[in-house]
Symmetry: C2
Subunit: 413 residues, 2 copies
């Protein structure tokens, strides 16, 4: 039995306009957009202004509307709309990762109390159905890690950087192509990736985390020296969002990484996204596709709407598992570079590995506690680049002496 | 509510043994293997012989067993086991693509009549959850094509060929590594890929096809000249299983293809599999992973078992859609080569494009009706290689004059 869907759409930007077209062009049964609410009455849009209303109550107070699709930019306003819609017994489909990441538990609770669905596949990696796969297919306890490139803007910029184009030029290119906003901070500093990571952690491991708990640092401090270092070693620099089980703890962070050609992220370039799932027995699965843009995001929204026809809702089967907890206490191997050698000396290494100095800059590699690194980066000098080295993360209690015995396997960056 | 699962396992080969280990090592709740039935009492196995029975009735007649996991090689025997299990009200999980492809409608009917699930994710592309995604996520009508490398053996052999290793040597290597059987016909002639394609067509487009309807040709007739041709053009030869919508018809076939670096299949090497899904608005999604082997296949079986705990069954929502039909009447661009120029002259081209002759061999490219090509290949000379050129398929009624106007876009192989 298919449920009849009357949609109230908030927002008619790139994604909202795409959805409108998608819904009109696909023969999806029993789903019609009844009302569209936008903010600015004067803005020129692709369809006639008679289609729009400007008061959110037009949708929220319409009892015939049973699905709210929220596609506006303002996450505060989105919070008001989404909570109100859930309370009024309407299903909600949204692409707003910030909204969900910041209010995850509250929104899940509200949707359960009101017996409606809250779906947000479009909020993580656009058209890649990663949440649905974590929720439905990897629904047992064998997942060991989820990681990926989940921000198209920073990936586009890094792809240019990896070719030797200067950071500021790459940003301008991305802006000219519409891949980056005027202020790209959320993307290039890893905040956008972090919001998505929080959703991945919830659906992969059943754990709720907050934007404060999960640490991110981005690509703005990378310099040409770092790109050159990577190229010489046959590596590329990629901004990865990572979540992994270490024993009975889960760690998660967003940071630039050196990636070698045998890693799936190596070949993921420009605005593309990819998410890699490691499970105990299935080895590595990679999901690759367009992470952003009008149609890819609209198509993810469409799949959620389509699922509502069959009364689909996330079950959060892995939640409530008290045996796992989130921590930032683990060891990670890093590369750090600076034009000022002294900037490197203050890094709280638990074990140093390489050190290099030239007239222009110095670099060093070694193991740090992630928690201490995080504290250190709060007040670190501006000319300090940190990049994660491709080495397995270690539990905080792992004896590095023991690691040292296998040094041949990890000494090379 | 999780259903309690008592499993009866048929077969303890590579996958069965892997599943046994997976189930023991994962903490999957409420699922236990109650009985294991194998054929050969004398074969040495990794666990004690006391675990095994040799009569299928041990499982089939045990009312406490509610799930049959069928992992034997013999598809005739598997048919007996699976039909009997379904009739007795037991859920069935199987990795046997041949069994399902040959008896698809009958098995679906049986599972519905007896109100039990028949799941077979492991039968297509090992650990890649492609059926589940087609079934659940791409459950609307916007899919335009599904194609992929779904046979690890032939892909391993082609990967070696593309490096310049002779076909027979590549086969021997694959056999030595356990990737190919003593008689690799099913893999290298594309039959195994075809069985999988039949399942993809069912879940992507809702259409039932038979192994007789879907045409396959493989890689045994490829020669060094063809590999050299590909390398010179910067292409690779890959065995692709393809299903596409052309208007309101669906076409499907397995054949070697020239693949350019911007196609996802280009970078899928050795024993890996990848399936690419094109939908009207989501652009291209690629699912990449290990297509075969003990653990990857076992993990797909495990995910199906895990889904049974939540009473999952395929809904075949796209089936019963009478507006789509299967056909082999469409046009495709091919490359054909032979040491004997006359072999090329008999090919029923509807439009020729290039022709090349040297002392050693000749080749030609052009458009053919797939239906006529299929008839032609039934009695074609042994020294004739056919490879599909990377061009959009055309409906049989498409006017090739119209195509010719855009010749610059498709003339180059």
């Amino acid at each position: 039995m298919r449920t009849n869907l009357n949609i109230g759409l908030f927002g008619f930007g790139v994604v909202g306009g795409g959805l409108y077209e998608v819904l009109n062009r696909s023969k999806l049964l029993n789903a019609t957009i009844k009302s569209i609410v936008v903010k600015d009455p004067l803005k020129k849009r692709s369809i006639d202004s008679s289609h729009f209303s400007f008061d959110k109550r037009t949708i929220l107070e319409d009892d015939e509307i049973n699905v709210v699709v929220e596609l506006i930019n303002d996450s505060e306003a989105a919070y008001e709309i989404v909570t109100e819609a859930l309370k009024r017994g309407k299903h909600v489909v949204t692409a707003n990762k910030k909204l969900i990441a910041e209010h995850l538990d509250e929104l899940i609770k509200l949707s359960r109390e009101n017996n409606v669905s809250l779906l947000y596949e479009a909020s993580v990696a656009g058209s890649i159905p990663i949440l649905r796969n974590l929720e439905e297919y990897y629904n047992n306890d064998t997942l060991s890690s989820v990681q990926g490139i989940v921000n198209g803007t920073s990936n586009y910029i890094l792809t240019q950087s990896n070719k030797g184009i200067a950071y500021q030029d790459a940003v301008k290119q991305a802006q000219a192509l519409g891949f980056a906003e005027a202020d790209p901070t959320l993307d290039v500093e890893g905040f956008d990736s972090k919001f998505k990571l929080i959703l991945l952690i919830k659906h992969a491991f059943g754990i709720s985390t907050t934007p404060e708990e999960v640490f991110n640092f981005g690509i703005t401090k990378l310099r040409e020296r770092d790109v050159r270092f990577a190229l010489e070693k046959g590596l590329r620099i990629k901004l990865l969002a990572r979540a992994e089980k270490i024993g009975d703890q889960v760690v998660g962070f967003v940071a630039p990484h050196f990636v070698s050609p045998d890693q799936p992220a190596y070949g993921v370039n420009n605005e593309f996204n990819a998410v890699s799932v490691n499970a105990l027995f299935s080895d590595r699965q990679v999901f690759y596709g367009k992470g952003a843009g009008s149609y890819p995001t609209a198509s993810a929204v469409l799949s959620d709407i389509s699922a509502l026809q069959f009364d689909y809702h996330y079950e959060y089967r892995k939640s409530g598992n008290d045996s796992l907890s989130f921590t930032d206490e683990f060891k990670v191997k890093i590369y750090a570079s600076s034009s000022n050698e002294n900037s490197l000396k203050t890094i709280p290494f638990v074990e140093s590995d390489e050190f290099y100095r030239s007239a222009d800059f110095s670099y060093t590699t070694g193991w740090v506690s992630f928690h201490e690194l995080r504290q250190h980066l709060k007040s670190s000098p501006s000319d300090l680049s940190i990049i994660i080295v491709e080495e397995p993360l270690k539990g905080i209690d792992t004896n590095l002496d023991r690691i040292e015995e296998n040094k041949t396997t990890f000494a090379s960056v």
